[in-house]
């Protein structure tokens, strides 16, 4: 496939953008940051497009991580890429942050299976595996039970250490990279609809105590 794809990620502690053509990386930027994604993203996209020597009209597809992540980070990437989708009338593919991390971990280690485990605090993690476990929030114990079933696996994410898995290969991948977002989007089916944020937790909002 010679599709040209622009992908971005802003879900966790990094901001990245990449342009790929037929799986080959034409341009790539990645910065580690806990905050500042909203300021960094647009110039970074402009830079990778210039680096790839492409105009937006030359793209075939757009890709973005939908979550899980920081709620704000998820929306920074989605708002920007959904804006591009409307402006360019190109398909936008959504990929989970954990899928992009797990795919990167598997490729880096050569393991048959990988899991991305993000420490979601409050005794919970966000987990997804390349073996069919879709992104979900769960207790650390439940996550440990899932990964224990594998005889060997690669681990990514801030929650990897919580898995206490002797036979795992722990990578230092803590956030998605847009290169892998593009690769996963490249093999995803086309979609008409805009991807929506994947929130694994409800908003922190309480109904008033005295609801009338």
């Amino acid at each position: 496939m010679s599709d040209r794809i622009l992908a971005v990620d802003t879900t966790f502690g990094a901001c990245s953008a990449a342009v790929l053509e037929g799986g080959r990386v034409l341009a790539h930027r990645c910065e580690i940051m806990q905050r500042g994604h909203a300021e960094a993203l647009a110039p970074m996209v402009e830079a990778v497009m210039a680096g790839a020597g492409l105009a937006f009209a030359d793209l075939h597809r757009l890709a973005v991580t939908t979550g899980p992540g920081s709620f704000t980070g998820q929306r920074v990437g989605l708002a920007f890429m959904r804006g591009l989708r409307v402006a360019l009338d190109k398909p936008l593919i959504g990929v989970t942050s954990l899928a992009a991390m797990a795919a990167a971990a598997r490729a880096e280690t050569g393991c048959a299976v990988a899991a991305a485990v993000h420490d979601a605090k409050r005794g919970e993690v966000y987990l997804e595996t390349t073996a069919g476990h879709a992104a979900a929030v769960m207790s650390v114990a439940d996550a440990q039970a899932i990964v224990a079933a594998f005889s060997s696996m690669a681990l990514a994410g801030t929650g990897a250490a919580l898995m206490a898995l002797p036979h795992a290969t722990v990578t230092n991948i803590l956030a998605p990279d847009a290169v892998w977002v593009a690769r996963l989007a490249g093999i995803a089916p086309d979609t008409e609809a805009a991807p929506r944020p994947l929130y694994l937790r409800p908003p922190d909002a309480k109904l008033p105590a005295a609801v009338r």
Partner: protein, 346 residues
Amino acid sequence: MRTLTVLGLETSCDETAAAVVRGFPPGPGEILSDVVFSQLEEHRPFGGVVPEIAARAHVELIDGIVARALDEAKLTLAQIDAVAATAGPGLIGGVMVGLLTGKALAVAAGKPLVAVNHLEGHGFSARLATGVAFPYLLLLVSGGHCQLLGVEGPGRFRLYGTTIDDAAGEAFDKTAKLLNLPYPGGPRIEILAREGNPARYALPRPMRGREGADFSFSGLKTAVRQLIQNNAVETVDVAASFQAAVIDILIDRSAAAMAMFRRDFPETAEPAFVVGGGVAANGAIRAALADLAGQEGFGFAVPPVKLCTDNAAMIAWAGIENAALGRFDPLDAPARARWPLSHEMP
């Protein structure tokens, strides 16, 4: 005649909005489309706007609303001169959504970006409506703000007075809550006040007669709470008495600011007194302020109600005001929760 066509985006509170406006300063401008989606129903169960719920709704809605605004204006992005998006002040999660969408549209279409101060949007909406000349005196009254400003142009404001505690609109909403009126209660106060006796209950007028033009509303709110808690009150009379107190405060402080404006701009023969913000939708307040302007020799300008509440047409117009002066913003422009209007050094 030179004109600019600007697409505006607004997501700073609980309205998701996009509009296309054409024109050139001093206005008036032509509103080619004006799409507003109110998230009222999403927030009603909570009795107020919940920031995370608002941000979640904005990101699902804004792209479709932008497409509709362009559609209704019968224009493509290529035919727009600039993209203007609210960059603050407001609920930061929502502001980011609109600003990032705006950045994407700008970068994709190769158009300049204007990161608009939402307050500037309110402050210039009278120029969009009627083409008022600078400088003018602005009373900005909304749920989040209560300020008196001398307005000389984009980024050029003199602050004459501001609230030291609550905003006027906040006082309306809190009083409505105390009266058990359904959310959002502010606009209902005006309706009830028509049936009530404004002299029935004695309520304080904080800061009245004080030096300067600052406001305070928290004492008034406390007095209303004590009145309601300690007495069997007539709702319509509380509404009327409360609204009368707010009007007295606004009149007194506006009159003080008019004197300050006269001192600063003695050469402006018949200056305009402009009212903007959601509270300017209140008919009784508009009428009282119009009377004051007449007495003090000021022209009076208040935008139509639709332009007083949050909307994207005023953001697009603020974009035109800035674009006309070549004031654009870089793609790394930040979203700001707080962003006071200030007088920039030349």
